[in-house]
Amino acid sequence: MDSPSDTSPSGQDPPEGGAARFEISRRQFVGASAAVGSLAAAAPLLAGCGTERGAEETTTVHLSINGQPRAIEVDNRTSLLDLLRERAGLPGTKKGCNQGACGACTIHLDGRRANSCLTLAVMHDGAEITTIEGLAEGDRLHPLQQAFVDEDGFQCGYCTPGQIMSGLGCIAEGHTSSRAEIREWMSGNICRCGAYTNIVTAIQHAAGRS
C-alpha cells in the first residue's frame, strides 16, 4: 500500500529527486514485488487449465483515458483498475479492497462514476475514462481537488482520489442539497482515517461554486 507522503491530492507522483536516482524507487520495488508475488500465486492456479480452452485469453482494448487514445493488450482477467495502474501508468486510482467495498478505485466510465476494480478491462473497448490524473489543468487543481486541500479533506490520502472522483459524480448528479444527502450519496467511499466531516464540507463548497 502507498505511504501517505507520495499521494498528493492530484494523485500524481512527485518528481524524482536527486538522491532517488541512485535507488530503485519505492513504486518500482512494489511493482516488482507484486509481479513476483502474483506469479507465485498464479502458478498453482494455472496448472492443469487453459490448454483445452483454446480461445484467446488476451485482448487488445482501445480506450480514451483522460482524453488520450490508448491501445493496450491485456489478459482477459485484468480489471480496469489494474489496466490503469499497471499498464497505462496511471497509479493515481487506488486499489483498496479490490472487491467493491471501499470505493478507492472510483473513476468515471463514460461520464459516470464506477468502481474500476469490479469490471474487466476487456469489456470497455471504446470507452471514455477519466481518472484523478485527468482533472487538473497543468498546475491548476480542479476546484474539487482544491476544496479538499482547503477543507483538509484527508489525512493519509489513500482514499482521496476515489473520494474526489465520486464527489464529482455526487455533484453532477445533484445530490448535494444537504450534508445528509451528500453523506448518503458518498457512502460508497470509505475513509479509514475518518475525514468524513471535512470531505462533506469540501464537496458542499465545491458544489456551491459550480
Binding site: 487449465c49 480452452r53 480461445a55 485469453e57 472487491q99 459516470r112 462514476r113 468502481n115 476487456v122 453523506r183
Partner: protein, 325 residues
Amino acid sequence: MYPFAFTKAADERSALAAGARGGRYIAGGTTLVDLMRETVERPDSVVDINALPYRNLEVGPAGLRVGALVRMTELARDPRVRTQYPVISEALELSASAQLRNMASIGGNIMQRPRCLYFRDVSSGCNRRQPGSGCPAIGGENRGHAVLGTSDQCVATHPSDLAVALVALDAVVVVRSRGRDRRIPIAGFFLEPGNTPDREHDLRPGELIVAVEVPAGPHTARSGYLKVRDRQSYEFALSSAAIALDIQGGVIRGARVAVGGTATVPWRLPEVERALVGRTASSSLWPEAAQHAADGARPLSGNGFKVELVKRTVARQLATVATLG
C-alpha cells in the same frame, strides 16, 4: 482468477449461441468479477451482453417493462417509477453504492449469488458451491443468515433488495433461449435451497434474462421499502420489507407484503396480507397483522433476534405506507 475466453456478443443471436455452448453472461460484472476473483465462479467462457438491445424502460397502462440491461441508477431515478412504483426506486437507492448502481444491471441484480461468508470462502465447505461439502454457517457465524425458507443444507440469505420489491409486486421474469421465450412468475423464479441448494433459480442452461415486467395495479403507487441494517448506508439488510397497499375509503382492498434479509429467497407473506385485506386501516392493525411475519421461522444460534425484527420491520413499514400522501 482462472483464465477464460472472452466474447463480446454483437447481437442476441450470437449471445444465445455462446450461452448455449456454456458461456457465462456478464453485464455490469459487479457480482461475477468479484466471485471469479475469489474463484467461487470459474467460467471457461464469459460472454459480454452489453451490446444487446435490452435497455428500454417502458411504463404504460399494463405496467412496467424493464430491459435486463437497464442499470439500477436509471430505473431508480425514472420519474414515472418514482411516482407509480416507489417501492422499486426506494429498494434500489437503498442498495449498494452510487458507483455500483451505475454499473449493475437489473438482470444481474436478481441473479446475485447468496450472501454468506462461507459461500465466498473456497477453503470452507458450502453445499451451494460444492454439493455435499456441508454448511459451516449452521453451526458457525450466522448472525446475518436466514430464519425463513432454510433447510439443513443452506441458510444463506438472498442479497437483492430489488427482488423483494419485485416479489411483492408479482413481477414476471422474461427469459430467452434459442428458439423460445419463457415468462416466469418471480415467485417461482427463486428456489428455496431444500435438498438442492446449488439450484438457486429456475433458469435453464443458456437462458438469458431479457426483461422484467411488473403489472400495474391500484396498489403500486402506495408502496415503499424499509431496510434495517448495521450501518445506515452501503450495507446489506438484516431485515427489510417491501409493502404496497390499496386503501379506499379507509379500508384495505389489497395488500402486498414481502420481506428480505431474513429468508433464503425474497419472501412473500400471504398470511400478513390476509390479515390486512378487508380491514379498516388503523395503528393497531399493523402490529397485529405483522405477528404472522415470522411464521415458520427457524432461528440459528446467532440470528434469533431476526424473528422479532422481521415483525417490527413489517409493522413499521405498514404504518409508513398506509399514511403516504
